[in-house]
């Protein structure tokens, strides 16, 4: 289980995240929604280790992640995508994805002696995910040449291929066509069925309400509501947060 407890982060005088608590369970899709600036991406950054919390804890299966480096957190089982796709722009799509799967690439001597086991299996896994997302044909394209939508999909594929227990997705379907949205929804359900925990930030309410098992709502740094999609749809505070400002 991924749990945040009393999580607080200040930027100067601004409390971007204010004493937040929630849980993300494996085998479930949880959505984190709220108006712009409510602190959702900051929560992601706190979990993945990009910034350090001022107070509170991030517990991954009981272990506190606060203060641990980004790469170690990733190796402990957290995988994420960013709001702006951060691909390795000079490498091919295939290389971008192999980097996610390959855990021997940082070992210099292994590679120098030609012992890196980049097996056919890893290759297969890469192609499978590309296929599931409908973009197998861009396998050998250079990442910088991709369209916006393609970049987002490749980044999603990369996060999925990176071994993980929890997947943090920051606006996975933003700007994406309905057909691809469906593929992504199916992919997320597959992740859920494989026992992964998915936490997603989204503004597309239809998508969110259709795939999520539970929804957490944030506003001005605080968690203001939590519950099933039907609960949230009727929640007065939530409506006020979105419409009342």
């Amino acid at each position: 289980m991924l749990e945040i407890q009393n999580l607080t982060k200040y930027f100067g005088g601004l409390k971007a995240v204010d004493d937040c608590n929630f849980q993300v369970h494996k085998g479930k899709i949880t959505a984190l929604i709220g108006p712009n600036g409510s602190g959702k991406t900051t929560v992601f950054n706190l979990i993945s280790g990009i910034i350090k919390a001022n107070k509170g804890k991030v517990l991954l299966n009981g272990k506190n992640l606060v203060g641990i480096s980004i790469d170690q957190i990733s190796n402990m089982g957290i995988s994420r995508i960013f709001q702006q796709a951060r691909l390795f722009k000079n490498l091919t799509v295939k290389d971008n994805l192999l980097l996610a799967i390959d855990n021997e690439d940082t070992k210099l001597w292994l590679n120098l002696l030609g012992l890196n086991t980049l097996t056919a299996e890893k290759d297969q896994n890469v192609r499978k995910v590309l296929n599931d997302l409908g973009i197998l044909e861009i396998e050998n394209a250079i990442a910088s040449e991709l369209s916006f939508g393609q970049k987002r999909l490749v980044e999603l594929a990369r996060a999925i291929l990176n071994p993980h227990e929890f997947l943090l997705l920051d606006e996975p379907v933003a700007g994406v066509s309905p057909k691809i949205r469906k593929s992504i929804a199916n992919l997320l359900l597959a992740m859920k069925n494989a026992g992964k925990g998915v936490l997603l930030i989204e503004h597309d309410m239809i998508f969110t309400l259709s795939v999520s098992d539970s929804i957490i709502v944030m506003d001005a740094g605080k968690v203001i509501a939590e519950g099933s999609p039907s609960d949230i749809r009727q929640n007065k505070d939530v409506l006020e947060a979105y419409l009342g400002r």
Binding site: S48, I50, S69, I70, D71, Q72, S74, N75, S79, R80, F82, R86, L87, F88, K89, N90, L91, D95, N96, L98, L99, A100, D102, N103, E104, D105, T106, K107, L108, N111, L112, G114, N116, L118, R158, N162
Partner: protein, 290 residues
């Protein structure tokens, strides 16, 4: 004699090629703008010269020199880990000034501005590489081995992961890669080969002083890497030949050496500026400059 002249040029090309591909690794593949790279060359030259002046066999001198340079490469990677772009460039430049100041002032060891003279030609296993032709062979064996190793590193998955770190360090970390270790290794290896190059340089010229290892000397090396094209090792070969040969015609115009030196610098500086503006991808570069 024409033959001696060509051998001389080929030796220079070989020495600068090793230096060039070492910078290609850290700058082209690693994306680390290390403006202090020439210091690794200098450290290698001085260590090798000192050891050979004390009678050690050349292979020993070269390897130790390379290891000492590599150590400084590793050392530099630690404080500069969090720096990027121009801050990294400036810090590494600062490092090179410190090294220069030490070379200039630690007169007991380095001879100060007088430098080290009468560096013996290489000898090991009972063979002395006294004449230029044999030295040429030694240089090109070193070139061959260096190129092979660096090429292997760059074309392997390790090469891909340092390229990824260059393209987006945060994303690389998010995939679980220890980017500090990667950047450290990159600088260390690149310094190692710069040290090899420095060692050969000292043994060839047989006299070194701090003025060979300044910002001015960095310009042609930077030029080589950019003209060749970032990440292109074959391009670096072509570029080294071009850069070493370009000022040579000036020799035949009859300029005295006091004119030759500055004109060569002016040529290199203008060429660097032109390449940055007109063709920043050089011959075979696959990535943009910065």
């Amino acid at each position: 004699m024409i033959e001696a002249y060509f051998i001389h040029l080929l030796i220079l090309i070989g020495i600068y090629l090793i230096l060039g591909i070492s910078l290609q690794l850290s700058f082209g593949y690693g994306g680390l703008l290390n403006l202090g790279h020439i210091s690794f060359f200098g450290i290698g030259a001085y260590v090798s010269a000192l050891l050979s002046l004390n009678g050690f066999s050349f292979i020993f001198c070269m390897i130790v020199a390379a290891l000492v340079s590599a150590f400084f490469g590793w050392l530099l990677s630690i404080p500069t880990n969090r720096l990027k772009g121009d801050y990294l460039a400036l810090a590494t430049l600062g490092f090179s000034f410190v090294v220069y100041a030490v070379l200039l002032n630690w007169t007991d060891v380095t001879g100060g501005s007088f430098g080290l003279a009468n560096i013996p030609r290489p000898h090991f296993f009972g063979i002395t590489f006294a004449n230029n032709f044999s030295f040429l062979i030694l240089v090109y064996i070193s070139v061959f081995i260096s190129y092979l190793l660096i090429s292997r590193i760059c074309n392997s998955r390790f090469g891909k992961v340092i390229e990824a770190t260059r393209d987006d360090e945060l994303a690389s970390k998010s995939l679980g890669k220890n980017t500090f270790k990667l950047k450290s290794l990159t600088l260390t290896i690149s310094a190692f080969f710069a040290g090899i190059s420095g060692s050969l340089f000292a043994a060839y010229i047989t006299f070194i002083d701090p003025s060979s290892f300044t910002l001015t000397t960095l310009i042609p090396i930077l030029l080589i890497v950019i003209i060749g094209g970032l990440t292109s090792l074959p391009g670096t070969i072509l570029a080294t030949i071009v850069v070493v040969l370009i000022p040579e015609p000036l020799r035949f115009v009859g300029f005295p050496s006091s004119i030759l030196g500055p004109v060569q610098q002016i040529l290199y500086a203008l060429l660097l500026l032109a390449i940055i503006y007109y063709r920043p991808r050089g011959f075979y570069g696959k990535i943009d400059l910065e």
